[in-house]
Structure formats: structure tokens, C-alpha cells
């Protein structure tokens, strides 16, 4: 009986100890704080545009993803782009168009056509004062295309990198506006081909997915309209300003109709026809 009482008493004591406060956990190591959230005004005021513009190759992939089977390479026209002119802005736009054509046809163009397009890019770069090294790089690529000593898959990487990493870093003698105007040429050519493919496919929805880029049009427009002020008027730049203004309006809509896409095609045709 006594032992039973003692057992009960001890059990109660044990129960009391279970009710006592849990032992304090050792402090966790303090993790370094991540960056604080930035507000929209801070983002917008500090934003740089170096990564704003999709590359022509990226446009092509997006087009395929949208279910439009038409490859852009078959739509690239043979062009004669004159680079021996005075206006460096126009040379930059033409160089961008030539670069886009090379990028979009790198996988399947005959060697002669591809080297001709790359030679145009080199001529434009030289005229813009891009230095001898980019020209030497293009000569090396052309030699390997002619000798059939480089795969087209490797060429895709090399041209992608020239377009996305090397050209934006070149300090052109023609000035800082050369890079955005080269980008503008590539983007206009890409947009022209994409809009043409959408119209040919009679696709009612792809325009919203592929051409709704008002910030891109606005970025180029600032260079053409503001930074070009005071320069001699040029038919190409005047049409470019008109086209970009309209593209900004169209691409600001929440949804683009097939008629909108047709107008993108017509507007970009108008610039490219002057080149």
C-alpha cells in the first residue's frame, strides 16, 4: 500500500515535470538579409536597356512556340544594303538588318549567301568605326564557312554571341547611338518577318504574344526622335520615326488583332523598303 502511494506520488511529480516549460532552443544562426524590395519608381528610374530587346533568334523560337510552323529563314529577302554612305545612323540600322538576316539563316543558308550577309555586317561595323577586331572575327568565321570547317550549330552560338554580347560592348567611333540603332535594325527586320509569318498563317492570337513590345519601340524612338535631333533630316530616319511611333501605339494595346499585325508588317515594310 505504501509502495503504491509512493508510485502515485512519483508519477504525479513526473507529470508535473512534463508540464514545465520546454527547454529554450539554441538560437539559430542569423542568415544574412537579402536585398530589400525596390519600388517601381526606383526600378524605372535606374533601369538600363541593354537586355531589353529580344534577339531575332529568340523571336524565331517564340514564333515556333506559338505554333506557327513557318520558319523565318525562308522569308529573308536578298538585300543590297549600301554601307558607303555618309549617314552613320542609317549604316547602323542597315548593319542591324544584315545581322538579323545572318542570324535567321545561319542554319540553312548556302555558304555563299551566309558569307555575303556576314561581309555586309563587317562592312557596316567598319564604317561605324567598330575597330579591326570584329572584322577579323567575321573574316575568320567566313573562312571556316567557306572551308566547311565549322558546324552550323556552332555558328549559331558564335553569331548569337556576336549579336548579344560582343556588339553591345563595342565602343563605336560613330558614337553611343550606334549600338541601339543596330539593335533597332535587327528588331525591325525580326518584327517584319514575324508579322509576315503571322499574317501568312492567318493566326488571330499570335500577335499579342509575339509583337506586344511597347517598351522596345519606345526605347528606339527616343534615340531616333531625341538623340537624332539637330541632325540633317534623312528619309530613312523620318520613316523610322513614323513607324516606331505607330508600332508603339499598336503594341500598347492589351490585345493585338490580325489587322494590327498587318499594320506592323506594313509599317516595317515601309522602313525596310528605304534601306
Amino acid at each position: 500500500m505504501l509502495s503504491s502511494l509512493l508510485f502515485v506520488a512519483l508519477s504525479n511529480l513526473s507529470a508535473c515535470s512534463e508540464d514545465s516549460p520546454a527547454p529554450v532552443e539554441p538560437p539559430r544562426p542569423v542568415e544574412p538579409a537579402g536585398p530589400a524590395k525596390l519600388d517601381l519608381a526606383a526600378l524605372a528610374s535606374a533601369a538600363e536597356n541593354v537586355a531589353l530587346v529580344p534577339s531575332p533568334a529568340e523571336m524565331q523560337k517564340a514564333l515556333e512556340r506559338a505554333g506557327i510552323a513557318t520558319g523565318l529563314s525562308g522569308l529573308v529577302a536578298d538585300r543590297t544594303l549600301k554601307m558607303d554612305i555618309e549617314n552613320k545612323d542609317v549604316i547602323a540600322v542597315r548593319t542591324g538588318v544584315a545581322m538579323a538576316d545572318a542570324l535567321l539563316t545561319v542554319k540553312d543558308a548556302p555558304p555563299g549567301k551566309l558569307t555575303a550577309r556576314l561581309t555586309l555586317v563587317k562592312t557596316g561595323m567598319t564604317a561605324l568605326g567598330g575597330g579591326a577586331d570584329i572584322g577579323a572575327t567575321i573574316d575568320d568565321i567566313n573562312a571556316r564557312i567557306t572551308n566547311n570547317s565549322v558546324s552550323r550549330e556552332d555558328l549559331v552560338k558564335e553569331l548569337d554571341e556576336i549579336h548579344g554580347a560582343i556588339i553591345p560592348e563595342i565602343k563605336f567611333e560613330a558614337g553611343e547611338r550606334a549600338v541601339p540603332l543596330i539593335q533597332a535594325g535587327s528588331w525591325l527586320e525580326g518584327s517584319n518577318l514575324v508579322s509576315g509569318a503571322i499574317v501568312a498563317a492567318n493566326n488571330e492570337t499570335a500577335g499579342t504574344e509575339l509583337l506586344r513590345q511597347p517598351q522596345v519601340a519606345d526605347y528606339f524612338l527616343k534615340y531616333v526622335a531625341v538623340e537624332g535631333a539637330g541632325k540633317a533630316p534623312d528619309a530613312v530616319l523620318a520613316q523610322l520615326q513614323t513607324t516606331l511611333t505607330r508600332l508603339k501605339e499598336i503594341s500598347s494595346k492589351p490585345t493585338l488583332t490580325l489587322d494590327d499585325v498587318k499594320e506592323v508588317k506594313a509599317q516595317t515594310d515601309a522602313v525596310l523598303a528605304l534601306l
Partner: protein, 139 residues
């Protein structure tokens, strides 16, 4: 051979700042490795930042396309971070690592404009300037 040529070409046409060179080399290697798994590069760029400083890049992202944003820091970088914001300033993603080579993957539901913030969250001794190379790749 090909990548060596392009590295050399890039170095010649654009001499990087001393503390950006190793970051640039690291990034170029990752870009070229990425091609083996279907990634292609839109843009690569670099910056030198002190601890707590950041650089903002505006980007257009296509609906349905996968994007991989990569940063490589040089030896002076301890922790670099990537934060992605939509066009209204809403945060929609950030990397979760405490290192100098963060990566952020994102696939947008709609074609739109976004902001990429690259932060030098921590640098060596808290006083060093860090070279940070950034690439936007896609597939």
C-alpha cells in the same frame, strides 16, 4: 577553340575592368555550357558594384519561353542576388542562394516587360568593389 576565339575577340573589342574579367570569364563558360542543353544568349553585360549596390535591367520576356538569368561574381563578391519584378513593380522571383553565382529561372504567362535587379549583397570585407557579369539566356 571557338569559345577561346570569342573570348579573345571580346577582350580585344571591350577591355573589361580588372575586377570584372574573372566574372566575365565565368559567365562566358556558363553561357557556352548552356548551349549544350538548349539555352541561347540574348544579352551578356557586366558591372562593378560596391556592397549594397545594385544594377537594374529592363527586359522583354516572351510568353511561354523559358528564361535563365545568370550572374557570375569575381573574387571580391561574397553574395550576389537576383530579384525579378513585373512591369508594375511586383516582386515575382528571387534566387535563394547565398553565393556569388546566383541563377533565376522564369517562364512568363504573357509577353511583357520585366525588371531584373542584380545586387551585390555582400562583398569581401564589406568594402571591396565586386565585378558582376549578368546574362539573360532563353530556350
Amino acid at each position: 577553340m571557338i569559345s577561346s576565339l570569342l573570348f579573345a575577340a571580346l577582350a580585344l573589342v571591350s577591355p573589361a575592368l580588372a575586377d570584372e574579367a574573372s566574372a566575365e570569364t565565368c559567365l562566358k563558360t556558363k553561357i557556352w555550357e548552356g548551349y549544350n542543353s538548349g539555352w541561347a544568349v540574348r544579352t551578356a553585360t557586366n558591372a562593378t558594384l560596391g556592397q549594397g549596390e545594385h544594377r537594374i535591367y529592363l527586359v522583354t520576356l516572351y510568353a511561354g519561353t523559358e528564361y535563365k538569368i545568370m550572374v557570375c561574381g569575381d573574387d571580391s563578391a561574397v553574395n550576389a542576388d537576383i530579384v525579378l519584378y513585373d512591369s508594375l513593380g511586383n516582386e515575382i522571383g528571387r534566387d535563394s542562394t547565398q553565393d556569388r553565382d546566383p541563377v533565376l529561372l522564369y517562364k512568363s504567362g504573357a509577353t511583357d516587360t520585366f525588371y531584373i535587379a542584380v545586387h551585390a549583397t555582400a562583398t569581401k570585407d564589406g568594402t571591396a568593389k565586386a565585378g558582376l557579369a549578368t546574362a539573360v539566356t532563353y530556350k
